[in-house]
Symmetry: C3
Subunit: 242 residues, 3 copies
């Protein structure tokens, strides 16, 4: 399955449109190229509708919001929905400030997202309307662990069903659910939290996977999570070898 989803990205070379933060944007572009997709970035309200029209996938990341980019996100999301394009939300820092929490919640109201991908604190914030995200990192108290796994799986399935989106919670243990099934993924490396942007990169890659595998969105989202974890393992292994 993983191989198939990736093969479809490489075969289709989907154009993925990213309205994303300026912190990790270069790595998002390179991650998309590395998996076989083609990235484009833009955020001005005058540009977003047209760029959305030519891209089958839209990745909205709220990492460094401003008035202009927020307006762009709503316009792009609406256009992508009209055209039936794939749309993903990465609610970076939801729970850390009202602007982030409220923008994410309002986006969820106005735009249908195929997938919402975040850390556990961000996703809890979206489910509860408020949260305790520690800056842009998950609050350790929220972590998905072997001990609370059953209740967390229940939480993610319930939330996915409620909002009608695939929900992907990533961390040491990753959960991907569409409300019916739930993938529990245990790969990756703890070092991945010591570099910035692994979540943002995954959201970009996941959008490419969804765009190239529109018939199997839950599997595509899970496959992207697996790929990112494997990439972390390969990267970590490589640095040990040097």
């Amino acid at each position: 399955m993983l191989g198939n989803c990736l093969e479809n990205v490489k075969k289709n070379v989907p154009l993925v449109y990213n309205i994303t933060n300026y912190v990790t944007v270069n790595d998002v572009a390179n991650a998309l190229l590395a998996c076989g997709a083609s990235p484009i970035m833009s955020d001005d309200p005058e540009d977003v509708v047209e760029i959305t029209s030519i891209c089958k996938g839209l990745n909205i990341n709220i990492g460094t919001l401003n008035k202009r980019s927020i307006e762009g996100m709503f316009l792009a999301g609406a256009r992508a929905n009209e055209l039936g394009h794939v749309v993903l939300l990465d609610p970076v820092g939801a729970g850390a400030s009202s602007l982030r929490t409220n923008t994410a919640l309002e986006l969820m109201e106005k735009v249908h997202f195929d997938v919402i991908r975040g850390n556990i604190s961000e996703i809890k914030t979206l489910a509860n309307g408020n949260g305790t995200t520690k800056g842009v990192d998950a609050d350790a108290a929220d972590a998905v662990t072997e001990e609370n796994l059953d209740s967390m799986v229940c939480f993610v399935k319930t939330f996915a069903k409620q909002v009608g989106s695939v929900i992907a919670i990533t961390g040491a243990i990753d959960l991907v659910s569409d409300g019916e099934t739930c993938f529990v993924i245990r790969n990756g490396r703890p070092e991945m939290s010591k570099i910035t942007g692994t979540g943002c990169q995954l959201s970009g890659i996941m959008t490419a996977y969804l765009t190239a595998n529109p018939e199997n969105k839950t599997e595509a989202a899970a496959a992207a999570v697996c790929l990112m974890g494997l990439a972390g393992e390969v990267g970590s292994g490589r640095s040990w070898c040097l």
Copy 2:
């Protein structure tokens, strides 16, 4: 010639001012430092005129346009023209949206560019007033090949003469023409299209070359293209060696 042009960059350490996109900006700064130049970035209309005045080279890259940076580009371009400074245009994504196409065309109307450097689809868009740029990458149907080389050389010479700028089209085969002569450059590596920003980096480096070699702009532009291709070969070779 290549060596001479590079020597002049290293000797003069030109200050190169970049109004550029936030995706590849860090690599542009590092590429400029690596070739011996000194980069500065800024885009606010209140800052651009003064920064243009202290920098002998100006690199305008339309990768992530917004209203503020567009205004900055016109002000900086006008000031650079007044002062007789070198100005380069990188029309990233011209052909992919009206905002990009129209901004590039209007810049060409209001500002004299010493060099315009882009991929073949972007340059065709500027020549025809519209195009089929695939996001920020060239449309494969547009590619310069051994088969269509004669007609592409004719196209680039005609367009260079028409606009009065050196035109640099980069891709698998690179063309650099001032309307009279045309350099055809066949180096570099296909892997260069798998990382983001090689074009943006080249535009930065080319601006440094032009600034340090103002008497030989066509040769300087061609030398910068050769350097970037060689850098790709060295980088690629290195990764094979590891």
Copy 3:
């Protein structure tokens, strides 16, 4: 001392809020993670007050100013002062344009900074109200050398006393003074000036050190300078070994 300051960063994992330029922002985030801190970036006036409230350290870097981010800097600085949080100013390019010089000077008027860190030309600009910063790099004529060391130590002590901030001047020889004592630090590598953002990274790291060592700000600032120099030596050594 160095070890202690770093241990406190690793133990406290301070959230460091950065209003910074889009050129080097990714490296600033990774530098903060690498030393054990947790970075967050944001610049919209609607977001900055709340983000300042949750972060014990604030790093204001004027590398790519715009009207929106300038407004954010003043709001965040005022809030951080109210809360007694650590605030650092990195006056990137002060002396290169009026917007940069005036913004830095006005920030110093309205916000109390625990530390101001810049190159010698930037700091001279702040002390004199004008300067000759070469773009974003120090003017060679300004350099701190063994020959002028006594007078430079006198300058930095006087300026530190006058503004009531720790002043950190970094370059081949680094000076850190609170007006009473002055650390003279001679480590690092000349290659560090050949990559962009080492100063910005240091400002981020220094904010983390100050936040985790609020009782010993002068020592913390000096320890951060030592760490950055050592990092340059390790990085340089590594590249020689490969």
